[in-house]
Amino acid sequence: MSDAPIRSATTAPTTASGPGGSIYDLGYQSYQGPRLGRRSAVVALYTQSLRACFGIGRGGRAKIAPFVLAGLAVLPAVLAVGFAALAAQAGGAGDLGDASPIRYESYHGLVGVLIMLFCAAQAPELFGRDQRYGVLPLYFSRVLTRTDYALAKVGGLMTALLIVELTPYVVLFLGRVLVAPDPATGISDEIANVPRFVLQGLLVAGLFGGLAGLIAAWTPRRAYATAAIIAVLIIPPIIVGIVGQLSSQDLARIFVLLSPADILDGTNAAIFGSIPDNPVVASINLSGWVYVAAAAVGIAATVGLTVRRFVRIST
């Protein structure tokens, strides 16, 4: 508290002492401590948003959905590692490799739906609450700007998604290293996968988070926002399936690139060099980098539009 207070040079310092210096009111004292300004406020809002995504600081019930979903996301990885460890002890081949259905390249199919549900459960509260209860004027009359507010919220959501997304991959990675006959070879075998799942994780968290944030920012009513997020993530793959069955590949390519879930299926296959889960995505033969580019464009567009929403919103 002994730091020099950052005060506007244009304002005289206030003295709160009464006549004769007697303090007769303890209820209000002027603040002499540091004012850390905008950056500190943005970091605080980002941290609070990230914690709010997991219901931390929000009471017991708010924690149920995020932790159940995060638990389900990591469960297959824990099981895979557990069985591999048991097999190794029983003298079998301590290898989680090709025999297991739970691998890096197949994990996106297991965790993707849970990430969608996490978005649908948490984004509406994160973006809608301040609008519903009229709190925005209190933020915008403080040091952070509207853009800061939007970016801190989006960043908090994306970071939360990244944690949920990457935790199972990390469990899988550590499991495979530890189950390997000798940790050194384990690491050298597995290390190449780290940048792959980190990249896929960034794309998933970015695209799903960006999209969910955008929808939630435009839909203050919680139930509508949840329904809209689920619809936008689940309906397009169904349409892609129908289009893929009925019409030309050119049309299917366009529809695939408009479907966030299919784009991420495509990036996953491209990054790990595997076959996409969705047969339509597998059949249309687009270069992997097209999917990565589409995801990047989607992230930039959704974040940009979310910022625009808060810059334009009337308070």
Binding site: T10, T14, G37, L45, R129, F140, V143
Partner: protein, 327 residues
Amino acid sequence: MSLIALSALTKHYPRGVVALDGLTLELEPGIIGLVGANGAGKSTLIKILLGLLEPTAGDASVMGLDVRTQGTTIRQFVGYMPEYDCLPPDTSATDFVTHMARMSGLPSSSARERTAEVLRHVGLYEERYRAIGGYSTGMKQRVKLAQALVHDPRLLLLDEPTNGLDPAGRDEMLGLVRRTGTEFGIAVVVASHLLGEIERVCDFLVAIDAGRLLRAAPLGSFTERTGVLAIEVEEGAEALTAALTARGLQAVADGRTVLTAVADDRPYDIVRDAVAELGLPLVRLEQRRQSLEDLFRDDVPAAPAGAGTSAGAGTSGAATPGGGAPA
């Protein structure tokens, strides 16, 4: 340097609504009342000062800082209490105000200390740990004031701080505003459509109507000739009017009520004597305010002759909130 300086400040909303129309004004630190009817442009002016709204034309500065370009710096030293609900019901006052302190750039530990101090200052004690959803309107208004004060601003902008409060709650809120302004040296701008409230806390009044400045002057110059006495009698209003006129007062009958201008204490004695002499059944004797528009539009210099016009204007001001319990 002036606290607030406005120069031809104009704000147009879409669809041709003019909220502020060439407002030019300089204000010195103090407790400033901003009065005007609903829709006069009070909230718009406050939002422009905060940088929440962009002015259409003209300039505005707060503490010498331009609202267009130095909004972030201004907002670091300004506290804002909005007119409407702005509190999430599922959070406690402590958590909410602490969060708002951090949003003003205070470090985490200072934010908690300041929150405890400010909530005590506004009179929230044990209940501050409960969810805001269960609070009374009075407690919510206190939380709103606390979040505006938590970062120790140099200027406090309060938009209708007594909104929705009962008379006791109004008194407490106005007392808090007064103390904040006088004891702690924070400049305050209080917007309200109730002149009666504003004049109890302010040193300086700014009256606006339809986005134009009606008057800006120290409080004293407003109150000199604002008194209208309403005398309600069961019968004989005409006779009383005649009797008062005969005694040299300007009086107007309005149904069972007689309105007369009171510039000093003298008319009270005259009224008492006239009522007693005529033996009239007196129902109510009440100091009444004219409606704001009449009060401010009348820019005639204060002179005894002006009392007549005031009383006449009072007839149209009968809708003024003043009808308390019968005496």
